[in-house]
Symmetry: C2
Subunit: 251 residues, 2 copies
């Protein structure tokens, strides 16, 4: 790519949108400059452009994003057959087992949720399409890493800040690489409170008809309700049915 | 706003993202140029920038968006308390009545979904956060229009391409304005197959503690399952409970 093919103002503007988030709903020009590393004049121009186009509003001090921003994420969701194809299967799966079911794909060192069918909220984390979690400590993340080349999986771990999210989180790269081999062999990953205390989950890969892993799906349930063996004996068979249905549908 | 405060490359890039969609998942440079009205050189540079930043991929002929685009919509969803606050209420409402419940806000002449709790799929339209529908023919849209100033509501209708989506869709502006008055008086809107054949829905406004309408919520159900009177006698009371809970929570 030649440098002249790069639209710098576009790249900076996207950074500005991503500066907003759960703990940062209202940002001043100085805030955005600090978060993005852009200088204040550039941050200001990008914010004013967002406001001018109706993607943000400005009260004279703070900027807030407006619902028009959803058009951008929706451009991906509606253009990609995967979430649309998976969603009804997640709904049925979630109904069948009475717990929340989700699907995600890998994006760098993180997984990003592309669909979710939720029963009562069991996690303190509020998950929805577009939500992100570190791959190394989530059941779907481990499935997605397990089906990469080993060198690639190792490189993702190298680029990840591995930290224990609970007292149960495994973070030693060699241990994780061994677990990936195990996951690939057995066909599923179980997560027992490694992401969040009180939460267990089980994940399997979603294959297309050529056998390529295109996503992962999981079921999460509270520790108080399900044992690890329930995940494997009761939930896994339902998940494998969905996996099999999707394999023939995803061409 | 001064012209020098506008980042043209950013504005053009956002247009390029929005060019993708349900029936346009894979676009060539020429396609994007045609859809956006940008010249080919500009469309090309924006697309290459998206690819360079990991928001899109390019197979040499066509561009496709990648899940990283979801970060943009997620910046809004996670930064805005509204979807997070409403979602658990929608889940309970949906469970209580056994039908899908949704919340949306007005964006120009359209409504945009900010949260949804779905039971079995009843619509042929695949709805999720970020989905859009014309306001004039959707129950939530009519609620949101009904609570605008009359002049503003009329101006939205003037800017809308009013067309019958089913044989039941009302599209005469005077009829719609009269219906808005009725909706405002009775506190809810009923939609009987005006959006899609086989689908009925009922919507109410969501007020904050000052009494300002900040969103609408609705329940949709198949014609085969519910009569209009069921919507009003069975579902409306549950919806008014949620409305009342949210009014105290939204500060």
């Amino acid at each position: 790519m030649r440098e002249t093919d790069f639209v710098g103002g576009f790249a900076k503007g996207l950074k500005v949108i991503e500066a907003f988030g759960e703990d940062k709903p209202r940002l001043s020009i100085a805030d955005v400059s600090k978060i993005t590393g852009l200088n204040r004049a550039t941050a200001r121009r990008c914010l004013l452009t967002l406001a001018e186009l109706g993607y943000a509003e400005y009260d004279g001090k703070f900027f807030m994003l407006l619902p028009k921003v959803l058009r951008l994420g929706h451009a991906y969701l509606s253009a990609t057959p995967l979430p649309t194809i998976i969603q009804p299967h997640l709904n049925r799966l979630s109904d069948a087992v009475g717990e929340s079911a989700s699907a995600s794909v890998l994006d760098g060192t993180e997984i990003v949720y592309i669909a979710r069918a939720s029963q009562r909220r069991v996690m303190s984390i509020n998950l929805m399409a577009g939500s992100r979690l570190p791959a190394y400590c989530a059941s779907m993340g481990r499935v997605l890493l397990a089906w990469l080349d080993e060198a690639e999986a190792r490189s993702v771990l190298d680029r990840t800040e591995l930290k224990p999210r609970t007292p149960f989180t495994h973070i030693e790269p060699d241990h994780l690489m061994e677990e990936f081999r195990q996951i690939r062999k057995q066909g599923y990953a179980v997560n027992d409170q490694e992401l969040e205390l009180g939460l267990r989950s089980i994940a399997v890969p979603v294959f297309d008809h050529r056998g390529t892993v295109v996503a992962a799906l999981n079921i999460g349930a509270p520790v108080a309700k399900v044992e690890v063996k329930d995940l494997i004996q009761l939930m896994l068979p339902e998940m494998l049915k969905v996996q099999s249905d999707l394999r023939t549908m995803l061409r």
